[in-house]
């Protein structure tokens, strides 16, 4: 079995001077750590952890991924046999008390022994009971007390990966050393990663794509990652191109909205040389043909090659990506008949002569990676043939075994054949390409980030003036931004004149307590929102009413499907 820590220690002997990580930041300056230094950092962190009594099976929480010190801090936990887990750092917007109480709860739930964090995060005033240590303190520890590296078994827990819901009991995906090793092996082969590659990433490490494809895989492969701060990237996405240009980046990953954003916001693409890029993978939200092609066209002048456009699909429950296109092969754009898709969810290839207005273009997420299987099931559990969309079930060599301390969820995770129900809707074409077209309705993906309807509704229900329990949140398409937006509808007993102020309070509360930007908020009098037969508010029904304009016109950025188009 591949073992990450021993692999990194081998890189440290073989190529000690090679960059493991290089920060790309105009604000905080650069900084880099070579593999030799990362190994030494890890040894020192291990000595520190051991002195604090952290050992096999214990949990070490980490915070702050855009930092050269994170590598040693994280590997040091593996060194002593502990389980590292990344937690989200506070955002500038979220209410401090809410953040702290959520963090305290998480740390207690995890029974974390320590919280290791970037020195850029000031936790001195945080009311948490767990011991805090910074990455530089770990790296400064005397290496003398380091034990010999823990030799993990294939079935031993390696790490936890948390979903990003903000309320309710957390769902931590538990992954073993064996699962991660198999994922790395399959992915490195699939993406053709070799020693010439340089990964450029601004994805946070508490998300699966950032953690695996931009942190763990490069360490396995012994290649550098150029790391950008998510916060700096958001304010200036062009930094990513500058980093690729300056460090000859060959691989990057990002959600679809970033393709749209970069295509629209870069004034002078010709100043960059992007010819080294061999793969920019879309992941985390469904790829859009229009956005990906806009990106490709915009950066042609920078030497960007169309065949470098790539896409993949995956989920934390199966480590990360389980499909991929290419590399080196142009992404498949599947032209299908609009009518058949809308009437019966069937992807019927459109003939060459079909007028454009009758055609929909779906972007392939590639084909299944080695050893990974997918079944598409109909409403009665029957297998559907290629072209017919249904519920997506997967079985992979690195499928998780269950959520951390969630026996309530861990009973029926897999069907009789060992397939996992992803909750996504999609289809396979007759060449084995995977298309994911929708998902269970309570999840909204805003810019690659998962937003749960119930998190937003819970916050809204506590805002004075709202008729508690009478709120509903759902996703709508925001094509101009290449992603989805969250819409909130709420019933209120207040006079209509007070609604604008109430809507503003709702917006503010949802930002503060759930860190979600709403694309729209609409109020209605009591009794207007539709209930399902079970008496709960029905998200799809109310979404349809909203798109029909029953609560007033949606804002200009929201796409309203033409009549009869369906969901």
């Amino acid at each position: 079995m591949l073992n990450l820590l021993s692999t990194v220690l081998r890189h440290a002997e073989r190529v000690p001077e090679r960059d493991c990580v290089r920060l790309f930041s105009r604000r905080r300056g650069g900084g880099a750590r070579a593999f030799g230094q990362v190994a030494e950092d890890a040894r020192r962190a291990a000595a520190f952890y051991r002195a604090r009594g952290v050992g096999p099976g214990d949990i070490v929480a980490l915070m702050g991924g855009h930092d050269v010190g994170v590598y040693g801090a994280w590997l040091g936990a593996l060194w002593v046999g502990a389980t590292p887990v990344f937690l989200a750092e506070p955002s500038v917007r979220i209410d401090k008390q809410t953040y702290w109480s959520r963090l305290s709860y998480l740390l207690t739930y995890l029974d974390a022994k320590l919280l290791a964090l970037s020195a850029a995060i000031d936790a001195s005033s945080w009311p948490i009971k767990v011991g805090v240590v910074t990455y530089p303190e770990l790296a400064a520890a005397g290496p003398g007390g380091a034990p010999s590296p823990h030799e993990p078994g294939e079935g031993d827990r390696m790490l936890l990966q948390h979903s990003s819901g903000t309320t309710g009991v957390p769902k931590g995906v538990q992954l073993t050393h064996g699962m991660v090793a198999r994922y790395a092996e399959v992915t490195i082969e699939r993406m053709g990663v070799d020693e010439r590659d340089v990964v450029v990433s601004w994805l946070p490490l508490y998300h699966d794509l950032g953690l695996f494809n931009c942190f763990i895989i490069p360490m396995f492969a012994g290649i550098p990652t150029v790391s950008l701060s998510t916060f700096e990237w958001v304010a200036d996405p062009e930094l990513q191109l500058e980093a690729i240009h300056e460090h000859r980046g060959t691989i990057s990953y990002m959600p679809n909205f970033a393709f749209a954003l970069l295509a629209a916001s870069v004034a002078d693409p010709g100043r960059y040389d992007l010819s080294m890029l061999r793969g920019v993978w879309s992941g985390g939200e469904p790829p859009s043909a229009a956005d990906m092609l806009a990106f490709s066209r915009r950066f042609e002048v920078a030497g960007f090659r169309r065949e470098a456009l790539q896409a993949g699909y995956g989920m934390a429950e199966s480590v990360a990506g389980i499909t991929s296109s290419g590399p080196g092969v142009p992404l498949k754009f599947h032209r299908i008949l609009k009518s058949a898709w809308r009437e019966r969810h069937e992807a019927v290839p459109a003939g060459e002569g079909e007028p454009a207005e009758n055609v929909l273009v779906h972007v392939s997420n590639g084909t299944m990676s080695r050893g990974c299987e997918m079944r598409v099931l109909g409403p009665g559990g029957e297998r559907l043939p290629p072209g017919r969309a249904g519920r997506v079930f997967v079985r992979t060599p690195f499928l998780f075994g269950g959520y951390f301390r969630r026996d309530d969820l861990n009973q029926n995770l897999f069907d009789a054949d060992g397939f996992y129900d992803t909750g996504d809707i999609g289809y396979l074409d007759d060449e084995g390409h995977v298309y994911v077209s929708g998902r269970s309705k309570d999840l909204i993906i805003v810019g690659g980030r998962n937003v749960y309807s119930q998190d937003v509704e819970k916050v809204a229900n506590e805002v004075p003036g709202v008729h508690a329990g009478r709120t509903v949140c759902f996703g709508v398409s925001v094509p101009s931004r290449g992603t989805e937006g969250a819409v909130l509808l709420a019933e209120s007993d207040l006079p209509e004149a007070d609604w604008p102020a109430l809507a503003a309070r709702l917006r503010e509360a949802v930002v503060r307590f759930a860190d979600v930007d709403l694309a729209d908020v609409k109020l209605a009098p009591r009794g207007v929102l539709r209930k399902s037969t079970a008496g709960k508010l029905a998200r799809p029904d109310n979404r349809a009413l909203y798109l029909q304009g029953r609560f007033g016109p949606p804002p200009p950025v929201v796409a309203v499907p033409e009549p009869g188009a369906g969901a």
């Binding site: 304010a235 916001s265 930007d517 804002p555």
Partner: protein, 88 residues
Amino acid sequence: MTAAPEARSLEATLALIEAFVARERGALREPLTPDTELLRLGLLDSMQLARLGRELAGAFGVTPPRGALTVEDFETPRRLWQCFQRFG
């Protein structure tokens, strides 16, 4: 080339931000003030920052150095205005 002084006033900056938010969100409930908390009030989401930054750069006739702006700089119109004055 930098823009004329009146295009770089706090008032003009505020008007530009207001027009941007109204265009993205639909009508504004009330006018913005220099200290309206754009991010905390949910008036501006993270995907709009870069585009607003570009519009401001155009209006001020400046090119902010790469990475000179971060999310915190978009907290209020006044803070954005102060940032863009520095770039002039």
